[in-house]
């Protein structure tokens, strides 16, 4: 009864001072909006990353070359993100992991290993035909790569064993390439010959299959769809021939189900680093997908924490703003408070009235913040290409938190109003 009246009253005074109320709410709006936005994106990005990494196989252990002098900077698991592939490009052949090392490794740990998936990069280049072009990075891949990458061929087929063995000039291209070169007709592309230019060389491949390109969720792409660089798969041996390289900068081990991938990653690292003790520039890093997921989650976690701290500061400033405006409002309405007391309002009623007003300001600010935050989160998630997942719990938490701010910062002004001397309040000019 009384509560309804108080809410009505609070809304009334808000409507009477719309601009002032909005400015007052700004801190709350910004604080809540950023929390909700980061939760919406953070949730979906973390979810997506975890899913896609899990789909790469939690049992997989990735082994890669890593530059030595930067060891101190890398994370304690010895993993650094994004720059890995770039470094590989200026690796000397002598530094690479040899077939012999891998053979010895497979022999020694046969009990733990199911398969080895390896690839050989030929380089980044462009398929050209008159005005038509498509950007690609050419990768000689073992069959295991397709399984590990979860690549699905939507037209044509995978490489035959014969093609793998003979180092045939065949290729599996992305649907992006088909869109750019063959007007999007997947079937049309099968059997066609393409010319790929890498640096000052060019190679001719026959397309045997088309796969559906999926943007990696943790790669933020700023290029247009047309200029997007996709992988052009060729048989591993073909890649090794073209690159004049039989060795590897990286490969993936599919471990047996009963093997602990984290433990095995450590063993693997030790095994290979025995070969690299004398190497001045390079060493081996090995990590399981499971640990990658952990690291990603931790990173997202600290990002969320950082943004939450910023949001917390915004909310604190917002709360102080609310307190300030409540003090102004109470001063302006001193005579009203006096009148209410003369009519029999007990101090507690006056206190509740102004706390409710403060809560209403904060909750409305919170609701606006939630709307803005969810909108921003969805836009951001769309841009990142991940499904947005605004969490109900974070919305409920935000509303509760807004109310708490309202109570906390509204209490002092409300109490001041409640304790006003009725006569002084009535005599106030």
């Amino acid at each position: 009864m009384m509560l309804y009246e108080n809410i009505r009253l609070a809304l009334f005074s808000l409507v009477a001072n719309k601009m002032r109320a909005l400015l007052t709410m700004l801190g709350i709006i910004i604080g809540i909006a950023s929390v909700i936005a980061i939760m919406t994106v953070g949730n979906s990005v973390t979810q997506e990353m975890t899913d896609s990494m899990a789909s790469l196989g939690a049992n997989n252990v990735t082994v890669m070359l890593q530059q030595k002098e930067e060891e101190e900077e890398s994370t304690k698991e010895g993993v650094s993100f994004g720059r890995g592939s770039r470094r590989n490009s200026n690796v000397q052949e002598a530094d690479m992991i040899t077939k012999e090392m891998i053979n010895e490794y497979v022999e020694k740990y046969a009990d733990s290993i199911t398969a080895i998936s390896a690839s050989q990069s030929v380089g980044q280049g462009q398929i050209k035909d008159g005005n038509l072009y498509a950007n690609v990075s050419i990768s000689g891949s073992s069959t295991g790569v397709f399984v590990a990458d979860d690549t699905e061929v939507v037209a044509g087929r995978f490489f035959t064993e014969r093609e793998m063995e003979d180092a045939s000039m065949v290729a599996i291209v992305s649907d992006t390439v088909v869109t750019n070169m063959f007007k999007g007709e997947n079937e049309n592309a099968i059997g066609k010959e393409i010319t790929a230019y890498v640096g000052d060389r060019f190679y001719k491949f026959v397309i045997v299959g088309v796969y559906e390109y999926e943007q990696s969720p943790y790669m933020i792409s700023t290029t247009s769809d047309k200029d997007k660089e996709t992988t052009l798969y060729i048989p591993l041996k073909t890649g090794q021939n073209l690159a004049h390289n039989e060795n590897f900068a990286t490969f993936t081990v599919v471990t047996k189900a009963e093997t602990d991938p984290d433990e095995f990653a450590k063993t693997t690292k030790q095994f290979f680093n025995a070969y690299y003790r004398k190497n001045r520039n390079w060493q081996i890093s090995a990590f399981s997908m499971a640990s990658m997921v952990d690291i990603m989650s931790t990173m997202m976690g600290s990002l969320t924490t950082a943004i939450s701290v910023i949001a917390g500061i915004a909310l604190l400033v917002g709360g102080i703003g609310v307190m300030n405006i409540m003090l102004v409002s109470i001063t302006e309405r001193t005579r009203e408070i006096g009148t209410r007391k003369a009519l029999g309002a007990p101090n507690s009623s006056i206190r509740v009235q102004f706390i409710v007003e403060s809560i209403v300001i904060c909750v409305i600010g919170g609701i606006i913040g939630i709307i803005l935050g969810v909108t921003a989160g969805i836009l951001l998630a769309n841009w990142l290409g991940t499904p947005a997942s605004p969490s109900l719990s974070s919305i409920v938490m935000s509303i509760t938190f807004s109310m708490a701010i309202g109570v906390f910062f509204g209490y002092y002004p409300a109490n001041k109003a409640a304790k006003m001397d009725p006569i002084e309040a009535l005599r106030y000019e």
Binding site: L343, G344, S349
Partner: protein, 235 residues
């Protein structure tokens, strides 16, 4: 008729700025009994302490010293919470400056004491309408104070004072800001409440004619009661 005093004040004093060099002795020892159903006028020069006395009678303020009982309640000892309850249920205030709540329509203004009295929304609304009809404001129930004339505002304020059906009405220069014609209207309302509903009414006024219409006229000068006589209205 033998009537027992509803309120009794003895040796009431009120000082302001207590302890400072310019301590102000506004009331210097007031003795006053008012009977149930009496219509009393208080007159005196501006600054003589009339409003201060009225505020003490109305439980809005506490005296510096003295005794005050209202319907057997010791108002000196009463706690703040009890005083607000008494203000809500026993006393209706009418101010010179109306003191209607801004941006709140006539009905909501009249409902306000009932809100604090814990009356249900339905009852509040019914009674507010009834009271506004009684004071002749039935046509203006949804109007905001800003949209009403002085006399209309004062009639809404009287309806509000009547909301909890108090036994005492305290009116501090209710016609002070009104022209004589609307003042007459307001004064007629007080007579009506006094005669038809038996309210105890204490009226502060500067107008000798209006004071003459009451049953008893009390003159205050420099914080003391200096005169007391019967008014024109017969007991």
């Amino acid at each position: 008729m033998d009537k027992k005093p509803t309120m009794s004040l003895k040796g009431i004093t009120k000082n302001f700025f207590i302890g400072s060099p310019n301590e102000l002795h506004v009331l210097k020892g007031i003795d006053l009994d008012v009977n149930e159903g009496e219509f009393v006028a208080i007159v005196g020069q501006s600054g003589s302490g009339k409003s201060t006395l009225m505020n003490i009678i109305g439980a809005l303020d506490r005296p510096t010293a003295g005794e005050y009982t209202l319907d057997d309640v010791d108002m000196i000892k009463a706690k703040d919470g009890e005083l607000s309850k008494i203000r809500n249920q026993k006393i209706g205030f009418v101010f010179q400056t109306y003191n209607l709540i801004a941006k709140t329509n006539a009905i909501k203004n009249v409902e306000m004491p009932m809100l604090y009295g814990g009356m249900s929304a339905r009852k509040r609304n019914d009674r507010a309408k009834e009271l506004l009809e009684l004071v002749g404001m039935g046509e203006r129930m949804k109007h905001l104070p800003e949209e009403l004339s002085g006399g209309q505002k004062q009639r809404v304020a009287i309806a509000r004072a009547m909301a909890m059906d108090p036994s005492i009405i305290l009116a501090d220069e209710p016609t002070g800001a009104l022209d004589s014609e609307t003042g007459r209207l307001v004064m007629d309302l007080f007579h009506k409440l006094h005669e038809e509903q038996g309210k105890t009414i204490i009226l502060i006024t500067h107008s000798p004619e209006l004071a003459e219409e009451t049953q008893r006229v009390i003159t205050i000068k420099d914080g003391l009661i200096t005169g007391e006589r019967e008014g024109g209205a017969q007991l």
